[in-house]
């Protein structure tokens, strides 16, 4: 479990943390502690109350925290207008290897997540709610189950929440893959339409929300849209959880105002352990930025989109100068190729070819012009899978070609790289085979 910290920016002094407030206990917050800290949830009993709360969420401008940054109110309304019965699914499958924030929230603030789940379910008129936790996050599942029992024992009347353990695979958390799995199928994406809001779990209109999004909803329902907008940008209001790792003094989950300068976040994480050369923003479907450009980047969806990147599920990895961005990306490309659900030809063949080519470059074995093949394949696979998995992998590799161009040149002149111990494998690739030995 990463350590819990927040930024100490002057503009947000006293306003943050929100989601992570009260997480310093080192154990799950109990129901009593939770209510003492935040009070109870507002009533959603009448149609008028529900309609007012929906409008309040719309005013808050909350965007989903699972990666795509889609406006939450739009999703809520889409499902709420579908036929009954409807269902809510809280997505805590957190397949991103370097992300810890969802697991942290569920493990330490289970009632905040459950408040959000029951609240969202009631708003959309769902009579069932399920929160999904990946197999490898045992602590989070246990904490949620205990919290569900606490609420039942306390006699809280609300939509019943089921906790489901789901696959830890990278692609398993993709919306259609999660629905497929909950319907008894494999954790593989399906061809859309239908989208989950049309026909999801049990063919019912299904609202899927990341668990951090649910936690924000729990707070907006209590404190309102104006309060939510006290931090963040007009387009991307509120706070956001970011998992910071790599070459920083204090890796962990940070709650920042959306729009915070990346340099300020790195400072809050104790600064770099070594001089940095680049930063990866957005996780394994994200993009590399040269350190000079990266530190001034504002961490919000609008800015990241404008830069051709993504905030993704809030992942930042700092790459020290001693490490090799090409070798690191090659390992991730291979991980992404293996993570493909294996259903779509362009993803299966394209990602494998991309990973092999990048490995060849990193190990100094590449034929001349390999990086041109790489660039073409990275363009070719975009938009050609049933899900966005190939698009994400391609985006990362394309940014690697841009940011580490000089490094790639050097490697293509048959110079393998041998980063010192402690400067290899900075990007976690769980379950992947060891990188090929460099001769």
């Amino acid at each position: 479990m990463p350590e819990v910290t927040t930024t100490a920016e002057e503009t947000t002094a006293g306003k943050l943390p929100r989601l992570l407030a009260g997480l310093r206990r080192g154990r799950p917050t109990t129901l009593d502690e939770h209510h003492e800290q935040l009070g109870s949830m507002p009533s959603t009993g009448s149609t008028g109350e529900r309609s007012e709360l929906l409008t309040e969420i719309e005013r808050s401008g909350l965007r989903g925290r699972g990666g795509a940054g889609f406006p939450t109110a739009v999703k809520l309304r889409a499902v709420a207008s579908g036929p009954r019965p409807r269902i809510l699914v809280g997505n805590g499958s957190e397949g991103e290897p370097a992300s810890r924030k969802d697991t942290l929230l569920m493990a330490r603030a289970p009632h905040l997540v459950l408040d959000g789940a029951t609240f969202a379910a009631e708003l959309i008129g769902a009579d069932e709610a399920t929160v999904c936790v990946k197999e490898s996050s045992k602590e989070a599942a246990a904490s949620l189950l205990t919290a569900v029992q606490e609420r039942a024992d306390a006699g809280i009347e609300e939509v019943a929440v089921a906790v489901r353990v789901v696959s830890s695979d990278y692609v398993a958390g993709e919306e259609s893959a999660l629905v497929h799995q909950l319907n008894g199928g494999s954790a593989k994406p399906t061809f859309i339409p239908p989208r989950p809001f049309e026909a999801g779990v049990g063919q019912r209109p299904t609202l899927l929300q990341n668990v951090e999004t649910l936690a924000h909803l729990a707070l907006i329902s209590r404190f309102g849209a104006a309060w939510f907008r006290e931090v963040g940008t007009p387009d991307d209001p509120g706070s956001v959880l970011i998992t910071v790792s790599g070459g920083v003094t204090r890796s962990g989950v940070y709650e920042i105002a959306a729009g915070t300068r990346l340099g300020d976040l790195i400072k809050a994480a104790g600064g770099p352990t070594d001089p940095l050369q680049a930063l990866l923003i957005g996780g394994y479907a994200g993009t590399w930025f040269d350190v000079e450009a990266a530190l001034d980047v504002s961490l919000d969806h609008q800015t990241m989109r404008a830069l051709g990147g993504t905030l993704g599920p809030g992942v930042v990895i700092a790459l020290p100068q001693g490490a090799c961005g090409v070798a690191e990306t090659a390992a991730v490309a291979e991980y992404m190729a293996q993570a493909s659900s294996g259903q779509c030809g362009p993803c299966v063949h394209g990602l494998a070819a991309i990973a092999d080519a990048l490995h060849d470059i990193a190990s100094g074995r590449a034929a001349p012009g390999t990086h041109e093949w790489l660039a073409r394949w990275s363009d070719d696979v975009v938009g050609r899978g049933a899900c966005h998995h190939p698009d994400g992998a391609a985006r990362l590799v394309s940014s690697c070609l841009d940011v580490f161009g000089a490094e790639i040149d050097r490697h293509e002149r048959r110079r393998p790289c041998v980063p010192p111990a402690g400067m290899r494998g900075l990007l976690p690739t769980p379950g992947a085979r060891e990188p090929a030995a460099v001769s």
């Binding site: 070819a353 070719d380 049933a386």
Partner: protein, 74 residues
């Protein structure tokens, strides 16, 4: 009414019939899977597009009304 071609990439098995029947609009990638232009199919190609979709052995090539029109009709 404008129509577009879309591939169901899960169903597609790279037979390549579509690219042979509609080379103006479909090319194959290095592994034989079709890359289909996403723009509306020009009127003079619609009949050929329909034939290509019908010829796909796995029914993976779909001739669809444009999303905007589909939503308006819904």
């Amino acid at each position: 009414m404008s129509v577009r071609l879309r591939v169901n990439p899960i169903a597609c098995e790279a037979h390549g019939m579509c690219a042979e029947l509609l080379p103006e609009w479909i090319e194959l990638d290095d592994w034989g899977y079709p890359i289909v232009a996403g723009e509306p199919v020009p009127p003079e190609l619609v009949e050929h597009a329909r034939r290509a979709a019908d010829a796909c052995p796995t029914l993976a090539l779909l001739l669809e009304r444009s999303p905007a029109e589909r939503d308006a009709a819904a």
